[in-house]
Symmetry: C2
Subunit: 107 residues, 2 copies
């Protein structure tokens, strides 16, 4: 992303969300949050643990999710959406409307 350039907020959002698996991860946490690493891995069909790990770090860096560690044995780590990610819920609502409509027209 370029520096010292006022970037269009839509392009900005697209940059934040466009890597592979990023949207499915956030959506899993929109449905219910927080979740543990294994829960996410099981729920998001097809993702591998190394990519899940990579994306979670990126999302944490961008303040969309937060990671909390509990000193249990075996270890527990929970990932939850931050309040900064709440605006994304409307995005998913619109994706839902669009999906419902488009599924019908496409047979």
């Amino acid at each position: 992303m370029k520096k010292n350039v006022k970037i269009c907020p839509i392009d900005y959002s697209i940059d934040l969300l466009s890597k592979k698996w990023t949207l499915p991860i956030i959506y899993a946490l929109v449905k219910k949050s927080p979740k543990r690493f294994k829960e996410l891995e099981r729920e998001i069909t097809g993702i591998s643990p190394n990519i899940l790990s990579t994306r979670l770090k990126e999302l944490e860096f961008n303040h969309l999710i937060e990671r909390e560690v509990f000193p249990t044995i075996p270890p527990t780590v929970e990932y939850g959406l931050t309040e900064h990610a709440n605006g994304l819920k409307s995005v998913f609502n619109e994706l839902e409307n669009f999906g419902l409509y488009h599924q019908k027209i496409k047979q």
Copy 2:
């Protein structure tokens, strides 16, 4: 995408939109439609013509854009959003709201 399985409309939309450059292409056409191949290539910074061509075909296959050829010399081809793609405008609105907010909290 799996067959004979009722897929969640959100996952369905994500599948339609999650490939690299798909969202920037649609967004370019949300701003103004129709546009010619070269216009899209110039406007979408960083895209290469082969990827643009590939994505346009996919989007046409999914009925989100339509392609019209004019028998001029040199050739003119226009790409426009279909009415089926109109529901995506709300998605971009929400992406805009989110981007505006997130740009502020992230400095």
